[in-house]
């Protein structure tokens, strides 16, 4: 049991330089990482902006329609419509 633990520890110690070498040998993929995060942040930002723009446009439409509705409901307008009839 103790011997097994010692063997495992020795293996780990021996693996350390191998891991370091592997990390040094790993290809430089930083450009792809930057591109990936650019897509993630960019797409999320564009979607957020689209939500804000759509909300503003709908608010403007609602205000305009409410104004039009109140104009149509106003007594002066009702009287003119009655005259027409």
């Amino acid at each position: 049991m103790t011997l097994n633990v010692i063997v495992s520890l020795n293996k780990l110690v021996a693996a350390e330089p191998i891991l370091q070498t592997l990390q040094q040998m790993a290809p430089d993929t930083s450009n792809y990482m930057v591109a990936g995060f650019g897509v993630i942040f960019g797409a999320m930002l564009i979607y957020l902006i689209s939500l804000i723009v759509r909300q503003r446009k709908l608010r403007q439409d609602l205000e305009m329609l409410q104004e039009l509705d109140s104009q149509l409901k106003s007594p002066l307008n009702s009287a003119s419509q009655a005259e027409k009839r």
Binding site: Y32, G36, V39, I40, A43, R54, Q55, L62
Partner: protein, 232 residues
Amino acid sequence: MDDKPRMLKTLDMITILLFVAATGMVFLYAPVEAVMGQVQRVFYFHVASAWVGMLGFLVAAVAGIGYLRTGKRSWDNISLASVEISVVFLVIAIITGSIWARPIWNTWWTWDPRLTTTTIMVLIYAAYLMLRSGIDDPDRRARFGAVYAIIGFISVPLTFLSIRIFRTIHPVVIGSGDPGAAGSFDMTGRMLHTFFFSLIVFSIIFVDLLWHRARLGDLADKVEQLKLKLVE
């Protein structure tokens, strides 16, 4: 439209803070993967985006059932909001997957079962958005949307299970995958923490965006009803 509810404002703040924390974990806490190098960091948000995409389609199907049962337009707004957000996140997942694949698989794209089923799923829901916009009658549109969201959901488990059923080169994150998968790796403790934290944060982002988009739907309904009233 009424001002933003206090709870939504709080959720916005929490979401921003959590997203910053998740980004910090991806870059500062998670170690560099020995074989793939820096590009492996994309994996955390790539999987989280795909998760949000599938979660959204589930919510859309449930909201569709809710609309068919109650006839309340708010369910339809939730369903539409879920689909729209999911399509955005799945497009992110597909593009980031393609960027990851270039150095790992040595190709931008391959017609692998996972990639193919995901593309079909996105196209199904993109068609949902396009077809909806072509229907003028609000009730018919909502009914169509509900039925479509329920039937369209069949594509979600098929996509999820594709890498577990078919021969594939796409790595399986949870559970065992195809031995021929390229780009698989064993996650260390820190990688696992970052991965699950990203999943939780993206789920919260989904809830926050869903709330905003559903409110936008309610506003659009108000405008549409007022327009119809004025035309009459």
